[in-house]
Amino acid sequence: MSARTPAVLVGLMLVSSMPAATQSPTFASKVEAVRVDVLVTDRGTPVRGLQAADFDVFDNGVRQRVDLVSFEQVPLNAVLVLDMSESVAGERLDNLRAAARGLLDGLKAGDQAAVVSFSHVVVQGSGLTTNLDRVRSAFDQTEPRGETSLLDGIYTGMMVGESDVGRSLLIVFSDGFDTSSWLSSDAVLDAAKRSDIVVYSAAVGTSPKATLLGDISASTGGTFYRIESTKNLGATFLGILDEFRQRYLVSYSPQGVAKGGWHRLDVRVKEKSAVVKARPGYFSN
């Protein structure tokens, strides 16, 4: 049915002429407890060994009692959301596949992975599984074609992550701006703010996607990487995985704040020189 053609001509004006089974039950409930992934660094180095008492968490300005802090021992769900539109073909695809393989190699026993690819078509190559060969096979089979439904892909990836109670990391790669999503940027940003998932993203070059991916990553406490080329994408992915493993999972049951709406979060640690990175808030329904 498609009349889609690979090219569009636009006029020019010439100016010159013109889950893992090991989860704590605390995290199984998405209603009562709020959990926040927190990265604490001191001069760029992750700070280890912090306990619940070391954290100050303010929910809409109200100090909360931190119930639990866990570090490293929680298996993670790594959801790869990969651009497989036409523009990725060639060297970029090779680099992307190598980077994704490297990331899978960096996962530990008990970790799960999934892959969602997108052109204009969103495809779950593999759901969350500890069988990483299945995930490898999924992205090896995908060939670049078509347009770019970046937003639809990110949202689908978030839902894949949310389908399991584990601690989820979403890694998004795109080399193009959105051209064909149904979902709007506002809708996906809103969905990210309602999710516990931490979104890390990487994009080649400069474009509107940079702002969008930056906003989505920031809203989840993740990081956006602008990269010049995909040659070092493997190092970027491994860096993301390493950083994510250094994060604390802080949990609390909100007290003294009304339910509903946007809750501004402020996470601090007692160590003054430390830099804390966490999502700026969450939506409560």
Binding site: M1, S2, A3, R4, T5, P6, A7, V8, L9, V10, G11, L12, M13, L14, V15, S16, S17, M18, K30, S85, E86, S87, H120, V121, V122, V123, Q124, G125, G127, Q141, T142, R145, G146, E147, T148, D152, Y155, T156, M159, V160, E162, S163, G176, F177, D178, T179, S180, S181, W182, L183, A187, V188, D190, A191, R194, G205, T206, S207, P208, N285
Partner: protein
Amino acid sequence: MAEIDRHEPGQTDAAALTAVSWSRPQLEGLFVDVHTLLELINSGKVKVPPGVPSFSPEELQQLQRIATQEKTNGITRLVKRGALLHTDVALLVPDATDPAADAPAVPKPHETPIAPRGSSIRDADGRNQGMRYSNLHWDFARMLLDAVKPDEFARVWYRATAAWLTYRHQLSEATPHLQRAREIFPADAGILFYNGGLYEMLAAPRIQGFIRTTALPDGVFIDVASERTNLRRAEGFFRRALALDPDLTEARVRLGRVLGVQGRHEEAIRELQAANVAPDDSLLRYYTALFLGADEEALGHADRARDAFGRASALYPRAQSPHLALSQLAWRTGDRPGALRAIQPVLALPADEDQRADPWWDYYDGAGRDADSQLDRLRGLQNGSRQ
């Protein structure tokens, strides 16, 4: 003239292939000749515009001989058959006048006062594929039709070619084309509808994103207005089309959509609900339901939005967009199980695009999806006139 006579409309025949082989400079020269010939036929005088080298006495004699002959045959026949030849070359070999060797890094502005030299830039999945000159065959065809009084053939020609240009994303060609069509047929609902479709496409993320991200040489910019401006233009054209033909259902659906994108959701809902879509037109019913869902959601009417997205999903169960919309709606309203349930059909869909029909992907170019039937009608008109 020989190629015009030899060409069978709609066919890639020897005449069309000969026309394809003409270089850009040859075509520009021919453009001046034909322009002069048409002047001769219509007024009997040769008006050489400034900047154009004068014809030699021999050339003038030859032109006058042809003019006399064509006057006898009837200029309308020459014009229509010529227009069809150039149209077919443009349709069958869209890049005919764009040999890579001729395409400069920065296209030069007009160098002759007659032959247009518009420029365009090609985008594929957001990447700049280089600049090129516009396809002079379109200008040729328009010039030929301008030489006679506009009639039903010209009306159908403009409709058919506008549909094709829209459907094939030839936006730089479609813009002047539809502008000329409006000048000639200002009260043609179909032409106004294609204009609306063109500006809706120019407002699309694909085009607007490309403009924002594409680096161009100094002094060159992409001649496309902002999303907001193009949406307003699209709205205006759809409204004018509907004023002339209130039964133009797709214009109403598209008007509803452009209103919704502009945040005017109540107005959008009124238009979409007023669209009298035929029960068997599943494509338009799908679009109507999808857009209604978005507007109802924007107004906080979650139940109505869910119903609308559900209707769209029922029409095209393998379309990802309604499932995504339903999931996102549930997620936004705090219905986590509902959101996860609604996304399941997307996760279960096959990877093969051929098994994944989502009309949303074709929405923007879809305004011109009747191009083939319009072209058949056009060729039928010409064949009929030959009998």
